[in-house]
């Protein structure tokens, strides 16, 4: 008996080094699945880019004219005589709505971030954070619905204008939509400022506001810029709410009360109705490529800025 024990334990130890039991296979499988999950983001983004480029390329290489595409307001894709694809009015519409959205969202989100991050404490802070995250979870079609049925009559009455579906309406809605994500990122940026900065400033006799304005905000500057950029990206890419609230009208806006049409909304409204492979279809994909590149660049810059602070 005493002889067989070491032999058995030795063979067991050998199994430990090279075990191929169920747990080992589970371990490997989980490894593989997690790895796939990790790289899938890269695969998807490449896949999407290849797909939209392939669909839009036919137009880009055949009859793309940058001066018409970017310089003309004539968006007449279904004309019988001569279809024209000028996105200037759509681009201006998107820019106007996103711009106004930022005017609304920046003060709101910055204020919320400063309050949550610097001034509130304990329960208030936790509740506010949860509420801001809940605000981010409201579906965009619900926002669009609010724009269409609440803001529209309100704007007509309040500003005495004939139509309430316009830049102002879409901008306010988009601003409220972009604010939560901007608040969350801005608050992270404020949190990244080390406490001894604040303590040092307070030791010098600075008031709360002086600490925030002179020390915390300048230190967190990059993160705040990134928060704004991500908000711009969100506003640029938003579709449903803009489609419903902007009036969907090919028009160069001259005031906040003009109806406009956004690039995204145009794709949403028209893509389902074009024949697969037609020129109109390819132009819509070209707009898709353009939008993809813009939001990709915005997010990339924001990400680089955030990484920049982390390194310090």
């Amino acid at each position: 008996m005493s002889d067989s024990v070491p032999a058995a334990s030795q063979s067991n130890r050998g199994d430990d080094f090279d075990r191929r039991d169920a747990a080992w296979y589970v371990d490997r499988l989980v490894h593989l699945l997690v790895f796939l999950g990790g790289v899938s983001a890269i695969l998807f983004i490449l896949g999407i880019f290849v797909f939209i480029t392939r669909e839009g390329l036919g137009y880009l290489t055949a009859s793309f004219s940058p001066s018409e595409f970017f310089g003309s307001i004539e968006w007449r894709p279904t004309s019988d005589t001569k279809p024209t694809y000028g996105i200037l009015a759509l681009l201006t519409g998107t820019a106007a709505v996103s711009g106004l959205a930022m005017v609304v969202a920046i003060p709101f989100s910055l204020g919320a971030a400063i309050f949550i991050g610097e001034l509130s404490e304990g329960k208030t802070r936790e509740i506010l954070k949860v509420l801001v995250e809940m605000l981010a979870a409201i579906p965009s079609v619900v926002w669009g619905f609010i724009g269409l049925s609440i803001m529209n009559p309100f704007i007509i009455d309040a500003f005495d204008v004939p139509v309430g579906l316009n830049v102002l309406n879409a901008g306010l809605i988009l601003g409220l939509m972009a604010a939560p994500i901007m608040t969350t990122i801005a608050e992270d940026a404020l949190k990244a400022v080390p406490d001894h900065y604040r303590e040092a400033a307070e030791a010098m006799g600075a008031t709360r506001w002086q600490v925030i304005f002179r020390v915390v905000l300048p230190t967190a500057k990059n993160g705040l810029v990134a928060a704004v950029l991500l908000g711009v990206g969100r506003a640029f890419g938003e579709t449903m709410a803009v489609l419903m609230a902007s009036g969907h009208s090919v028009n160069m806006p001259t005031s906040p009360f003009d109806s406009v049409r956004a690039l995204t909304a145009t794709i949403a409204a028209e893509l389902g109705e074009t024949a697969h492979g037609s020129e109109h279809y390819r132009v819509l994909f070209t707009i898709g490529i353009f939008l993809f590149l813009i939001t990709f660049c915005i997010n990339l810059i924001a990400d680089l800025i955030v990484r920049g602070i982390r390194k310090k």
Partner: protein, 292 residues
Amino acid sequence: MNSKTIFFSTIASAVFLIGCGGSRADRSVLQNKGSDTLVNVAQAWAEAYKDKNPKLAIAVSGGGSGTGISSLINGTVDLANSSRKMKDREIEQAKKNGVEPVEHVVGYDALAVYVHKDNPIESLTFEQLASIYGKDGKVVSWDQLGVSIPGAKSEKIILVSRQNNSGTFTYFKKTVLGKGGEYKLGSLDMHGSKDVVDFVMKTRGAIGYSGLAYTTDEVKLVPIRKSAGQPAVIPSVSAAVDGSYPITRPLLMYTRGKPEGAVKEYLDWILSDEGQSIISKKGYAPIRKIQN
């Protein structure tokens, strides 16, 4: 990627097979898609046909004539509803995909011009409509037409149009603006026939066009003259049947090739007195006079 793909596709195909197994045994499905103008009546037909032939389910969806036609070209529907004729381009494309579209007239529709119910305008000629809607038209405010709308914020005409692949959009353009005519840009482009009427109902300075069947008591239908000397005709089903209303268009269904089997039976029933009495009840004109 591989193991995941296989896993999900196995589940998906299993679900698909179970689904098919159940339905294939006793009923089949016809896909019917297209014109927003026709969607209500297409649904009514599908409902009524259920009693005639319980084994055939007809799935109806809207989205616009362009949607229906492009689905027909892509081969995903059996019947495409359309409020305009297929363009040569589209027929070519369909043939390239091996689809030979065949056109069937299933009814007629009067395209009404809607304004707010307080708008005092008495009638509009084609020429006036073209100067309101056309690319080179000079009319941008109601006082240019000699009317002023009580309670309106401004005299500006708020143009309401449709998304550019709608059959209504195309037909109105061709009929009122003439061949090769283009719309003025800057109109509010609505995504459905009903949306046009809803918007005009709520907006005093607005003018819009949409199928007569979408009318409500809260909007005004503008009587239309083809030219200044001719009588103004209020859009109605009877004016569409006798052809006196000038913006009347055929409502079409396209099939892939000559209709056969279930599709043929369904179309024949639509064109029968029974099917045609349903379309006239929905506010459209039947293809011939029928006794109800």
